[in-house]
Subunit: 91 residues, 2 copies
């Protein structure tokens, strides 16, 4: 299953630890605090369990959202002054 | 169409302006730099156009990713020490 993981974590050390764990689980970084990847149901359980241990700050929040591969492929990425459209069919 | 918008913007003023525009377009904030919402194709075009004007910093990046409503409903939110699962069926 494809998922996107996005988070706001105030503690630098914990935020870096979360990024390392997400990489270890096979997800790819798409922004400073956002990862995407294809994981099986065992890895998904691991993901929820590990993140549950790391996201402990009062204002910390992390979302794990299932993502259809078709939806991911239709993303629009805006980077500096270049707009790369993978979503022409949407417009 | 449901979309999630996530961004890394270094300039405070631009980042705040992006958040205001996303709210104006009818999206809801789920984290400091992540919004979700249901928009029609005209609003989607506006979204891409407006964000293209605001995301101009060298290291700035913004993703607009279509999201199935079913997928959004199955999200897992980890908030401080509480894990709210809307995704039991996934596990």
């Amino acid at each position: 299953m494809w998922v996107i993981v996005v988070y706001d974590i105030s503690d630098d050390e914990k935020r870096n630890k979360i990024a390392r764990e997400l990489q270890r689980l096979g997800l790819s970084r798409i922004q400073r605090s956002a990862f995407v990847g294809d994981i099986d149901s065992q890895r998904f359980k691991d993901l929820v369990r590990i993140m549950g241990k790391l996201v402990t700050g009062k204002d910390d929040i992390l979302h794990i959202i299932p993502l259809g591969l078709r939806d991911w492929e239709r993303r629009v990425v805006i980077n500096g002054d270049s707009v790369r459209r993978e979503a022409v069919s949407l417009l």
